[in-house]
């Protein structure tokens, strides 16, 4: 047997063939693992889905004191043109009194305090809070009110009362110019 000739007597019977078996098996395992990845990654957001992941919104038509809702990444985003009074209200409360402590200044862009942009998903169980449309119940703090389990948000979109643990999330956005907002 050719394998016997290749046996190294000092090496407890390990042959060159054993090495080839391990090497071939190892390569096959690496190959299998590598070909598995495309089958997992295909589930991630596709290129066209990613292409739609940022949107531009014309905000010139939003009057002071009103708000609009836009759909971004399948979720609602509230854009509110706040009144001076609403901004004052948001700044009036001591940050240490809040459930999720965050100053109003951290939630808006400097110099653009009149614009509040938040994701319209209640941080409790993901309902869409009321308060964007005129005539909606805005809750006790003049911001948003979630009808599902009674969470009240203030004019900065911060949680003030109810079961929600966190403030409404502020998405990534920039002002392209004075009338155009880019979200994402």
């Amino acid at each position: 047997m050719s394998t016997l000739e290749n046996t190294n007597p000092e090496d407890d019977g390990t042959t060159r063939r054993d090495f080839i078996h391990v090497a071939a098996g190892g390569m096959a395992a690496v190959g299998a693992a590598a070909s598995l990845w495309p089958f997992i990654d295909q589930m991630n957001p596709a290129a066209d889905t990613l292409a739609l992941s940022s949107i531009e919104v014309d905000i010139s038509q939003i009057d002071v004191g009103s708000a609009i809702v836009v759909k971004w990444r399948g979720k609602p985003v509230f854009i509110r043109h706040r009144t001076a009074d609403e901004i004052a209200q948001a700044n009036a409360v001591a940050v240490t009194d809040l459930i999720d402590q965050q100053a109003d200044g951290e939630r808006v862009k400097a110099g653009k305090e009149e614009w509040l942009v938040v994701t319209g998903v209640c941080t409790h169980l993901g309902c869409v809070p009321l308060g964007t449309k005129t005539g909606d119940d805005r809750g006790e703090f003049g911001g948003w009110f979630c009808p599902c389990h009674g969470s009240h948000y203030d004019t900065s979109g911060r949680i003030r009362k109810g079961p929600a643990p966190e403030n409404l999330e502020v998405p990534e956005y920039v002002f392209v110019n004075d009338t155009t907002l880019q979200i994402g």
Binding site: M43, N44, P45, R73, G126, P147, C148
Partner: protein, 422 residues
């Protein structure tokens, strides 16, 4: 281990086939005339075959529905309505499929609790039992994805809430959710993959069912007395005795099934699912289907973190709830080693009986709790019910197996009352 008998068909063509592929022997030995079966099986033993029949009905009706359904967000809801209004007998087939899911779960729940009471998970049937748990998990995944397909409000928001559970996983949670969605919310890619998997999984279930039956052949059926078969006097052939009994049970079961299909087809569903999915409007309350309610109640009842309050947090509340929900089913896999009592049947375990009865009540209570809004005392009741559920498996059963004195067991199945074993 049960012995294997080779079939000798009289028909020449059957004999020719049997020589080349012994499929007649296979059926005969697993559910046929060559399958010696304990003579004392009661009606609780009907529900295995009923679950099998429901699987067949779900596959047949489901394949037909797939011929008319379109898994694209813009048309999915309308294609289901078209099945209901325009496709010949579409309403019947869809109502069979929708109610069939509920009846499949009814049969399987009774089958599982039969096993829990009569100790069907004990040696030598551990693997048989564990394969059953795998089937149940696959059923839950299949049912969940199937409920998303009509793309109604409850479909959409149920899918959102359940997939979001995975965001509780530390570090990679959000990436997992994005991977499941194929986007940034439940949307067209999600619907497509759920349809594909909803079509696939029933056949995977059918495969595991075959393993389940194979394990049943090896370890034999259990029986209400929980004692081993001693002689052939304890047994009767599966066919015709239990095929006829199963057929009778099926007739009764299908009568009730038909009553739901024809007279109250939407009684077990949620009316909100007849509103097309609206990603920007949440329904008043998001409630899962009835068969998920006990586990949903367990998920919700955990609203506290694991750790020492004020000092550190080992596992946050959201993750702990998700872990508890999965653990509530996975604990069944460990059952053969948690309940070490040598007596299988609950009939001979005077204390076990009461704790088991309480578990059944607890399950119904959890089911009710899962349908309520989490307000007032509901979360508190949920904590008690969840605590008992886990205590039954990990505390009560191990202690009972050591402390309880069982009643004397009968000598044999054929001679159950005349003389107790010494």
């Amino acid at each position: 281990m049960a012995e294997w008998k080779v079939a000798q068909p009289k028909n020449k063509a059957a004999g020719w086939l049997e020589e080349r592929l012994p499929i007649i022997s296979l059926v005969n030995n697993v559910v046929g005339s060559d399958t010696p079966t304990p003579r004392n099986l009661n009606y609780f033993w009907n529900f295995g075959s009923l679950a099998g029949l429901m699987l067949v009905i779900q596959i047949i009706s489901g394949v037909v529905l797939a011929m008319h359904y379109a898994a694209t967000t813009g048309v999915a809801f309308d294609s289901v309505e078209r099945i209901m209004r325009d496709v010949n007998y579409g309403w019947l087939i869809r109502y069979m499929h929708a109610n069939g899911a509920s009846f499949f779960f009814i049969a399987v729940y009774i089958h599982i609790f039969r096993g829990l009471y009569f100790g069907s998970y004990k040696a030598p049937r551990e693997v048989l039992w564990m394969l059953g748990v795998v089937i149940f998990l696959l059923m839950m995944a299949t049912a969940f994805m199937g409920y998303v397909l009509p793309w109604g409000q409850m479909s959409f928001w149920g899918a959102t809430v359940i997939t979001k559970l995975f965001s509780a996983v530390p570090v990679v949670g959000d990436s997992i959710v994005q991977l499941l969605w194929g986007g940034f919310s439940v949307d067209n890619p999600t619907l497509n993959r759920f349809f594909s998997l909803h079509f696939l999984l029933p056949f995977v279930i059918a495969g595991v069912v075959i393993l389940h039956l194979w394990a049943k052949k090896i370890s034999d059926s259990g029986n209400p007395l929980g004692i081993d078969v001693k002689s052939s006097a304890d047994q009767i052939p599966f066919h015709p005795f239990y095929t006829v009994k199963d057929a009778y049970g099926a007739a009764v079961f299908f009568l009730i099934f038909a009553a739901f299909i024809f007279f109250m087809p939407n009684a077990l569903g949620h009316p909100d699912n007849y509103i097309p999915a609206q990603p920007l409007v949440t329904p008043d309350s998001i409630v899962p289907e009835w068969y998920f309610l006990p586990f949903y109640a367990i998920l919700r009842s955990i609203d506290f973190p694991l750790g020492i309050p004020g000092l550190f947090e080992l596992v946050d509340a959201k993750l702990l709830g998700v872990l508890a929900m999965f653990a509530s089913i996975l604990v069944w896999l460990a059952l053969p080693w948690l309940d070490t009592s040598k007596v299988r049947s609950g009939n001979f375990r005077p204390m076990f009986k009461w704790f088991f009865a309480l578990l059944v009540i607890d399950m119904f209570f959890l089911m009710w709790l899962g349908a309520q809004k989490a307000e007032g005392n509901i979360p508190l009741y949920g904590k008690f019910a969840t605590a008992y559920y886990f205590a039954y498996f990990v505390v009560i059963l191990p202690i009972l197996s050591r402390k309880e004195t069982p009643l004397p067991l009968p000598e044999s199945i054929s001679n159950p009352v005349l003389k107790p074993a010494e």
